[in-house]
């Protein structure tokens, strides 16, 4: 007997919208979610744009000062152990569960698991450790650890929703939530769980974003309309964002039995390491190339059958080039020409959040029958020769969609999503 994982719930707290309808509109109309920001109160910093989370505010590390849009409810009991990205995650998961027609009480019987991904909260950790140092170890917020370290999402959400199935956090930098979704897929396929909640989230703070300035990975372009332009010859780095996306993944028979709407089937996934550098992608995209091929093999799909690729491309000079070469090796060399775009042109790069955010976008594209365009692309980099990068979103209904993610250390993870039958 085979178990087929399908996506039945989507929740978005992103720079391009806090619900499926607004995200869909942004993707179709290529509306970006960027705004000018001043990190660390320093007008001299060259990083001037971020993918902001409208209606959310975290002016201090004290939860009593935090606010979020009225549409969401965050329990006080839960709030004390959360980081800012935990608040985003709670809001995204509420949406996903409501959309999937699930109430919280139905999650506690052991058939539902929870896989999460975030880098933890450098913002909260910095505060917690500073207090520890300043008081020479005599004081510390009792919730400081669970609100700040990597794992904070699964600690909080598993306890709050009384999850008694599989619970785990994944840490592979910008491939983290793709790993979470991949292993959640396996939990369903192996018959271990009937349902998996997959949540990716990141803070949007100076501690999370400006740290990448040391790597020279961030765009210095102050114009929100062009600062993130994957595959463009003039790209100069990524634009940071935070937020959260939650997916409900269920076994198809279970989902059908309860009449759930199915956005997409997860047809397969794969991963491969670059075996090359701690921080730089392989110059020929070797790991990503292997991850795409393993994903196609896992799904028993030929390259020519793929209609759309949501690229990882973050708008960095080296990373986009590596991915372009990997795409050429997998698709162009096989005579295939899928549509390709990176939605990070609209959202910014959500780090650990990116993989599951873009899987959510792919599920919307399959469900609603469109292909997101390659926003802000004016001068295609010559390294992208032979790739089909549509400048506008297309009213074409894809049947098979590939989603790429790559993280530090050369972790590459891909998913193949299929239109629901």
């Amino acid at each position: 007997m085979s178990f087929v994982p399908v996506i039945t719930g989507l929740g978005f707290v992103t720079s391009i919208g806090h619900d499926s309808a607004s995200v869909l509109r942004s993707l179709r109309e290529l509306r970006h979610g960027f705004a000018p920001v001043e990190f660390l109160g320093n007008p001299d910093l060259p990083v001037k744009v971020a993918g902001t989370l409208k209606g959310f505010s975290f002016p201090t590390p004290n939860w009593r000062d935090w606010s979020w849009p009225e549409a969401f409810h965050v329990d006080r009991e839960l709030l004390r152990g959360l980081a800012p990205h935990g608040v985003y995650a709670v809001c995204a998961l509420q949406q996903a569960l409501a959309g999937a027609g699930l109430d919280a009480a139905s999650l506690a019987d052991g058939t539902t698991g929870l896989f999460c991904a975030s880098a933890g909260s450098p913002f909260m950790l910095h505060t917690f450790l500073n207090q520890l140092h300043e008081t020479r170890g005599e004081r510390g917020n009792p919730m400081g650890i669970v609100a700040s370290i990597a794992g904070t999402l699964n600690f909080n959400l598993a306890a709050h929703y009384r999850i008694t199935g599989a619970v785990c956090g994944f840490v592979s930098a910008c491939a983290s939530s793709s790993h979470a979704l991949g292993y959640a897929t396996d939990e369903i396929r192996l018959g271990r769980q009937q349902r998996m909640l997959v949540v990716g989230a990141e803070d949007l703070t100076a501690e999370s974003i400006v740290s990448f300035s040391s790597l020279r990975a961030l765009s210095h372009n102050p114009d929100p309309a062009t600062s993130s332009r994957p595959f463009d010859r003039r790209r100069d780095g990524f634009v940071g964002t935070g937020g959260a996306v939650a997916l409900v993944v269920e076994e198809a028979t279970v989902a059908r039995k309860r009449g759930a709407h199915v956005y997409a089937e997860i047809a397969g996934w794969g991963q491969a390491g670059d075996g090359f550098s701690v921080a730089v992608s392989h110059p020929q995209g070797a790991g990503l190339r292997a991850a795409m091929r393993r994903t196609l093999a896992d799904a028993r799909v030929e390259a020519a059958e793929v209609d759309y690729v949501n690229a990882h491309a973050t708008s960095t000079v080296a990373g986009d080039r590596s991915e372009a070469l990997a795409l050429q090796a997998v698709f162009t060399a096989a005579g295939a020409k899928p549509r390709i775009s990176s939605t990070k042109a609209l959202t910014g790069h959500g780090l650990s959040l990116a993989g599951v955010m873009e899987a959510g976008f792919c599920a919307l594209a399959l469900d609603r029958g469109f292909i997101p365009g390659a926003a802000h692309l004016e001068e295609i980099d010559p390294c992208c020769a032979g790739l089909d990068l549509p400048r506008t979103s297309l009213d074409e209904a894809p049947r098979l969609v590939l989603n790429n993610s790559s993280g530090f250390g050369g972790s590459n993870v891909c998913h193949l999503l299929r239109k629901s039958a």
């Binding site: 001043e38 109160g41 505010s57 002016p59 004290n62 009593r64 009991e77 505060t127 009792p142 100076a206």
Partner: protein
């Protein structure tokens, strides 16, 4: 308008970060106590601290509850929230509370008398 969430923040002390969240009557009561007032006037401060750290928002004003009300069984406190109250209270009043003392405080009346005794000026000759 640039969002302020990205501005640097000073690491707050417990008193700085939380006293301003307490109701005005509690802040006034604390200032009166600081100015040499009677520890018996501290009830509004204690109730405000408890309400601020309770895992669930109190359904009724704590001041109206009987002294026998249990912190854990009746008000829903857990060990983490009690630890938060202890740290806050220690910093606010400049006192030290041991783990042995914490476990003896179970009700509102216990807490009230414990704090009054802790913050009272020494009476020895």
């Amino acid at each position: 308008m640039k969002p302020s969430l990205l501005a640097p923040v000073a690491v707050p002390t417990v008193r700085d970060s939380s006293l301003r969240h307490l109701p005005a009557d509690a802040q006034d009561a604390f200032r009166r106590f600081q100015a040499g007032g009677d520890p018996a006037g501290l009830d509004p401060v204690l109730f405000a601290i408890l309400a601020d750290f309770m895992p669930r928002r109190p359904e009724a004003p704590l001041a109206g509850l009987p002294g026998s009300t249990q912190l854990i069984a009746d008000l829903g406190f857990d060990s983490l929230a009690i630890t938060e109250v202890v740290f806050f209270t220690e910093d606010l009043f400049g006192i030290s509370i041991s783990n042995e003392e914490i476990v003896r405080v179970r009700s509102l009346a216990d807490l009230r008398s414990f704090i009054r005794q802790k913050v009272a000026p020494p009476t020895g000759r």
